[in-house]
Amino acid sequence: MERLILRRLSADGEEMILNFGPQHPSTHGVINFMVETDGEVIRKAIPEVGYLHRSIEKIGEKVGYPGFMPFTDRVDYVAAMFANEGYAIAVERLLKLEIPPRARWLRAISCELCRIASHLIAVGTMTMDIGAFTPMLHGVRERETVNDLIEALCGARLTYNYHRIGGVAFDLPEGWREKTLRFLDHFDRFLTEFDRLISFNEVYVKRLAGVAVIPAPLAIDYGLVGPNLRGSGVDFDLRRDLPYGAYPHFHFEVPVGKGFQGTTGDCFDRYYVRCLEMKESSKIVRQALDTLPEGEFMAKVPRRIKPEPGEALSRVESARGEMAYYVVSDGTENAWRVRARTGSFTAMGIVEAVSPGLMVADLVALIASLDVVAPEIDR
């Protein structure tokens, strides 16, 4: 792999070829970047992935449909609820199953809380990569509270395994609604403080504004999704445009990058779109808690799940963009193929296109603003 990449880098002795990773504090997991630089300015940066490949998709062919649910957590362990939901929706489509409304609302609540947690990590690690260590810890502190809430809900803090084929595993525990509303009150005010602390800090803005601009056509061409795409100005959000679950019942804005502090599509736009999305998620959770319908939280599913041969595709708006699950069934208890399409994988492609001309520090900012998590790339 390295030789393949080295041939593409046209080293003629003047430039340095640097290995940025795989063990590196700021590549958000084990990813390697082969970087050809001329002093501080990069000529080309090519990502080299695969260090975190765990054959999750192959495992999907072995453990059966309900058994695969914990493995979907591990596809993107920072925002695991979305993977759960995507897989569950795909299999429910295969089974042609309608899930009860309460289950849909609970899924939305857990997913939006998970989105808040994931974005806190995203913006936190971004600030840490840019050099401010404090906002990361403040973000992680808020995430601890979200983790505590989800732990009370389903029993785990990272690999939730909360959604099931046909609904969710548990109903809300006693007092959870009040705890969550109290947290959201605090969190909305925390976001203002976070903005004052770091988002509008002049040094931070100068580091990110106008850096690594990804124009909208390029973003669409490279298949970017989620906040990366919206940061480039493309107004597309699966929750609003291809709605699923309980989202048609909620009112929320979709933040789109418009050059908040520089050009549309620069690192600051992608960062700030995430900050705004956290506010919107908080609104959605409030609405969902207010309008939570009564009823069952799990549909009637057969004891052994053996869908008819066929295929199903589900697309959910994960924290990192569109997460699509493509499940092919051959009539047996194990799936024939499970494929997870994740947003970080395509974000790797754009690094090579946008990196020429950046400085090393800007490359760090670019990778951080794309919010890549290595497990999602390699699965």
Partner: protein, 451 residues
């Protein structure tokens, strides 16, 4: 898990253990630096002695031995100060980040730096095969020499200075530039691209920022009329409106320039590009381990102290004790060979004043470090050359004109002092009010528990 020390079983045993730990901590914390500094003060005049009955050769040997001992003690003193600075920074920064920080080894975690130093000494000493053998090993020595030499001229108290050089501040600025030689040599000799990045960045940074630092340091020199550290301090008074910082608006500007430039010299965020953790793993110290790394680490935090001490000397009035001017010191000295106890008390008071002011400035540096992000290399250069150097020149020229003004109209100094102190107090009031309001704005409370 086995415990190194078994946890105390009863509450009273726990209390006794806590008291013993506190006693050990105080002994180390107050005793160690005092003992070392006392040794420095005693040995400094000793080396001029010529003990009777010794041949000239032996006298030379005696003096050389004294000098060697003095050097060792000074370096140890510097290391101890830097260790305590590490502790202070970690405690302050951890509370800013909503966590507790060091609190197990020693009372309030004070002995953690001792544990860290011992651990670093015991680690494997790795020299990369392709690294330049001589330069790789020599780099830490440049760095620590550049650091330890500054302690010779730091004015800890009214007479508590190892050597009151006539060219005090000039000596300090030039000797602390040895550190950049060490960093450059470390970056080059590690034979690793990351280290090279770090070394190059550091060279650019420190050399560029010497200029505004030097220019801004000239402002107090102009106002005091002398390069000597004690002279600069003696030209100031003890109260804020008598400090150089507040008697001259250009000195305020010079202080800001000096502060920023010293941050850059010391590789502190927002200027910690040479060792930017998130980008270059550890920059120029990537390949260093064990004691060699300990030296770099020690010098970085020790420089924090030195930076603060120099800023305090130049701008904040040094060790000047309120209500105790030079006359009080003279009177307390008496005419006997050894001064009376009042003099010693005043000296210790001046030492405490100096330490308190240095810790204050140190807190400012720590605070800035843990709030601001890092700037990029090109932004750092443009900041230096487009912002700091013009401001430094403006401050310098302004001070020249100010001195001419003062020669004609002497009471302008006091007026400016009063006005700027008032302005500073008002600014501080609004700032602290905003700080207090931040807490309620998020729904928290003031809560000093959880140490």
């Amino acid at each position: 898990m086995t415990e190194a020390l078994p946890l105390p079983k009863t509450a009273s045993a726990a209390r006794r253990r806590a008291r013993r730990v506190l006693a050990l901590t105080l002994a180390v914390g107050l005793g160690l630096p005092s003992a070392l500094f006392g040794a420095v003060l005693v040995l400094s005049p000793l080396r001029h002695l010529a003990p009777p009955g010794l041949s000239p050769g032996s006298v030379f040997l005696f003096r050389a031995l004294c000098l060697l001992l003095l050097a060792v003690v000074l370096v140890t003193f510097g290391a101890v100060i830097s260790g305590m600075t590490v502790w202070w920074e970690m405690r302050v920064s951890s509370r800013m980040q909503s966590r507790v920080g060091y609190n197990r080894v020693g009372a309030a975690g004070f002995l953690q730096w001792v544990a860290d130093a011992v651990k670093l000494i015991l680690k494997e000493d790795l020299v990369p095969k392709d690294a330049d053998a001589v330069l790789f090993r020599a780099a830490p020595y440049f760095v620590i020499v550049g650091f330890a030499l500054t302690f010779v001229a730091l004015p800890f108290g009214e007479s508590l200075i190892a050597a009151d050089l006539d060219v005090g501040i000039f000596y300090l600025l030039s000797v602390s530039a040895l550190v950049v030689v060490g960093i450059l040599v470390a970056g080059w000799s590690s034979n690793s691209k990351w280290s090279l990045f770090g070394g190059m960045r550091s060279a650019a940074q420190v050399i560029s920022y010497e200029i505004p630092a030097g220019l801004a340091a000239m402002v107090p020199v102009l106002m005091a009329g002398t390069l000597s550290m004690q002279g600069i301090i003696r030209s100031q008074g003890a109260w804020p409106w008598q400090w150089i910082l507040l008697t001259n608006p250009f000195a305020l500007l010079a202080f800001l320039v000096f502060f920023v430039a010293q941050l850059a010299e010391g590789n502190r965020t927002p200027f910690d590009l040479p060792e930017a953790e998130s980008e270059l793993v550890a920059g120029y110290v990537s390949e260093y381990s064990a004691f060699r790394f300990a030296i770099f680490f020690l010098v970085e935090y020790g420089n924090l102290w030195v930076m603060s001490a120099v800023a305090v000397t130049l701008f904040l009035g040094g060790w000047q004790v309120p209500f105790a001017g030079p006359a009080a010191f003279e009177a307390a000295r008496g005419v006997a060979t050894l001064p009376g106890p009042l003099w010693w008390a005043l000296e210790i008071l001046s030492l405490l004043v100096f330490v308190a002011k240095t810790v204050l400035v140190m807190n400012l540096i720590i605070w800035v470090r843990w709030t601001l992000p890092r700037i990029r290399v090109d932004q750092m250069m443009s900041l230096c050359w487009k912002y700091l150097v013009p401001f430094a020149f403006a401050a310098f020229v302004g001070t020249l004109l100010w001195q001419i003004l003062l020669a004609r109209v002497p009471w302008v100094a006091s007026l400016t002092g009063a006005v700027l102190t008032l302005g500073g107090a008002v600014t501080a009031y609004f700032f602290l009010r905003l700080t207090y309001r931040n807490i309620a704005a998020v729904g928290d409370r003031v809560d000093l528990s959880n140490w």
